[in-house]
């Protein structure tokens, strides 16, 4: 990767309950030059991190389904803080509740290219 990588230095929170997937996502984000602030495997830990104002966040990647629990409480906290986020899910768009239909979503499995494009477009949509 070159130094002109637009996502370089971006501070990200990852909420993903499947260890293997989370590991891969971390590796992908490393590759993109991002800083993974933390990885939460549960909703409660995700909420705790999202609410913690001391944890500086530029963006978040949220797995929709965490062992049967929906990630929406984390999404609400982030939205309240003004932190943009994207979803990644094995359900596709149909698995996302109406309130968050507009949130950019990545369908599993995804490549590093797809991840980068989504993050870049989300940042652009937010006005850089």
């Amino acid at each position: 990767m070159t130094g002109v990588e637009p996502l370089s230095g971006l501070r990200l929170l990852v909420v993903e309950d499947e260890a293997l997937v989370a590991m891969q996502l971390e590796d992908m984000l490393d590759e993109l030059g991002c800083v993974v602030v933390d990885v939460a495997g549960t909703v409660s830990r995700g909420v705790a991190l999202a609410e913690n104002a001391e944890v500086a966040l530029d963006m978040a990647i949220l797995d929709v389904n965490l062992g049967g629990e929906k990630v929406y409480p984390v999404a609400e906290r982030l939205a309240a803080r003004g932190v943009p986020f994207v979803f990644c899910t094995g359900y596709g768009m149909s698995g996302i509740s109406g309130e968050f239909q507009h949130v950019p979503t990545l369908a599993k499995p995804y490549s590093v290219g797809q991840l980068r494009d989504l993050l870049v477009s989300s940042l652009a949509a937010r006005g850089g």
Partner: protein, 552 residues
């Protein structure tokens, strides 16, 4: 038996009438005969008187002249009168001058009697012969009153007339009687016929009434059977029946239909509004719209909706129906059945959830495979190493999926996961060199996959470098419930003994990363890897949670 007495009286009357009629005829005949007799006698007498007058005038000359021969001639001229029996001419002295008599008959008397006699059998006429007031003599004339044959014929005629009249009257009477009788019989026959017709009509009416009654009863019986069959069929199919009169808005509902809406099966009358009030508020508008469309367009009403029962339970109902229209094409009623489709709906919902879940799992599994491939590729130094490590990891993933499938993805036990991890090494004379024990801890599907992968990494490492790489080493896997600062947790210890001496790995491989980063994060716990003298020790401290819990 009213005939004979009436007939007898009638015959009696007939005899009386006949006798009176006969007497009438006899009297009439006698009167006619007497009158006729009288008339005939007078005519004869008149005729004889004229004859006598004529003779008296014609004899005046001869008598005056005393000419006997002339007197005789004049007398003979009178004898042409057929009924004359005897005649005579007398002189002034009253002596018979000349006389004539029909043969066999009594001659004229010798002396004039100058008297006229009307006898029963004859007329005797004496007439003086006058000339200028002077009596010249007299004439005598005797005539037969009536010839026997003529009288016989006359009386016979009268009798015949009376007889004929009697016969005519009799014939008329008989005819009349016959007519009367015939008329009477006819009237009687007509009355009888009328009665018979009335009776026939009555009996026909009765028969047709009886037939109608019988048909009605058969119809009713058939209808009752049909209604009973329908009710039985509806009840057998657990179908509710309902009907709504669209003109009066009257609603009729069967016991099952009421039960479908949570009303008591029998009780007060319930209207459409009562049932609609039990339809789930979210489904009500759509249901009403479907009902209105079915009535307006004449199609089949098919509406699936939820009903909220008084105890708060929600049931799914399917209501099918159809509107009926009159000759003026206006809707008369809407009727149909209801069916409880809660079971079907639940299973449909479950199926949809399972499909979603399956899709989710497949996607996640593919993501996991992708991750394994990338991570393995990153650490493998040769293609062969990649292939064997990758396949081994995929196999581990497949095995834990098998395990989860046997428990319907409800969550596996920790002991099963450990046993499954060690299973591939059984054939290599594990010989009890591995043991495990701990309370019955259960893991959710994702947690089970992660822990199984973690154990796979540990076992692979042990087989390559650790306790399972020689003949003497052993592995003990124990777990117990601990009470830490942040609540209850499961502490799992993977301890190797007797393996070849080991040191920390030259580089952080996939296994190490997976255990320390992924596993720890997923369970929100801590994983401690120590490469000690007896062998590798891995201590996992994983807090109890929804995906890691003690079996009930």
């Amino acid at each position: 038996m009213r005939g004979p007495p009436a007939d007898k009286a009638r015959y009696g009357r007939l005899v009386t009438v006949s006798l009176i009629a006969a007497l009438g005829f006899v009297l009439t005949g006698a009167a006619v005969a007497a009158y006729d007799e009288n008339q005939v006698a007078r005519q004869r007498l008149d005729a004889a008187t004229v004859e006598a007058g004529l003779l008296a005038e014609s004899e005046a000359g001869p008598l005056a002249a005393g000419d006997a021969a002339a007197a005789r001639d004049r007398l003979v001229a009178v004898t042409a009168y057929p009924e004359l029996e005897a005649a005579g001419v007398y002189g002034p002295d009253g002596a018979l001058l000349t006389g004539w008599s029909r043969s066999g008959a009594r001659p004229a008397p010798a002396k004039t009697s100058e008297r006229s006699v009307t006898g029963p059998g004859s007329f005797v006429l004496n007439r003086p012969v006058l000339q200028g007031g002077r009596r010249l003599g007299a004439v005598y004339l005797r005539t037969v009153r009536e010839p026997a044959m003529q009288r016989l014929i006359r009386y016979g005629g009268i009798g015949l007339l009376i007889l004929m009249a009697a016969l005519l009257v009799g014939a008329l009477a008989t005819t009349n009687a016959a007519l009367v009788s015939a008329h009477r019989r006819l009237r009687k026959a007509m009355i009888e016929r009328g009665r018979a017709e009335t009776a026939l009509r009555r009996s026909q009416q009765l028969a047709s009434q009886a037939e109608m009654e019988s048909m009605r009863e058969r119809g009713m019986a058939a209808f009752r059977r049909y209604a009973a069959d329908m009710e039985f069929a509806l009840a057998a199919g657990q179908l509710g029946g309902w009907s709504r009169d669209l003109r009066t808005n009257r609603f009729t509902a069967s016991a099952i239909f009421r039960a479908h809406y949570g009303f008591e099966r029998r009780g007060r009358w319930l209207g459409a509004a009562d049932f609609l009030s039990r339809v789930h508020p979210e489904d009500r508008a759509e249901h009403v719209r479907r009902v209105e469309t079915a009535v307006a367009e004449g199609g089949v009403l098919e509406s699936e909706f939820r009903t909220v029962l008084p105890d708060g339970r929600v049931r799914w109902l399917l209501v099918l129906g159809r509107a009926e229209y009159g000759d003026d094409h206006r809707p008369i009623r809407l009727a149909g059945v209801s069916m409880d489709i809660t079971v079907r709906k639940t299973s449909e919902e479950r199926q949809r959830m399972l499909l979603d879940e399956l899709n989710h799992r497949v996607k996640n599994t593919l993501a996991s495979v992708q991750s394994i491939a990338l991570q393995t590729g990153r650490t493998a130094e040769t293609a062969e190493e990649f292939e064997s490590a990758f396949l081994a990891r995929i196999n581990a993933l497949a095995r834990v999926h098998d395990l989860l499938t046997t428990v319907s993805w409800e969550g596996a036990s920790l002991a099963d996961i450990v046993a499954q991890t060690l299973a591939p090494y059984e054939g290599r004379a594990l010989d009890g060199r591995a043991g495990y024990s701990g309370p019955d801890v259960r893991l959710g599907p994702n947690a089970a996959v992660t822990l199984a992968m973690a154990f796979h990494e540990l076992a692979t490492n042990a087989a390559k470098y650790g306790a399972l790489s020689n003949d003497r080493g052993r592995i003990d896997i124990d777990w117990r419930i601990e009470h830490g600062a942040e609540g209850e947790l499961v502490e799992i210890n993977w301890s190797e003994h007797g393996g070849p001496p080991i040191g920390p790995p030259k580089r952080r491989g996939f296994g190490t990363q997976f255990l320390q980063r992924a596993l720890a994060r997923e369970f929100d716990g801590r994983v401690n890897l120590r490469f000690t003298a007896p062998g590798l020790n891995c201590r996992m401290r994983l807090p109890l949670s929804a995906k890691l819990r003690l079996a009930a």
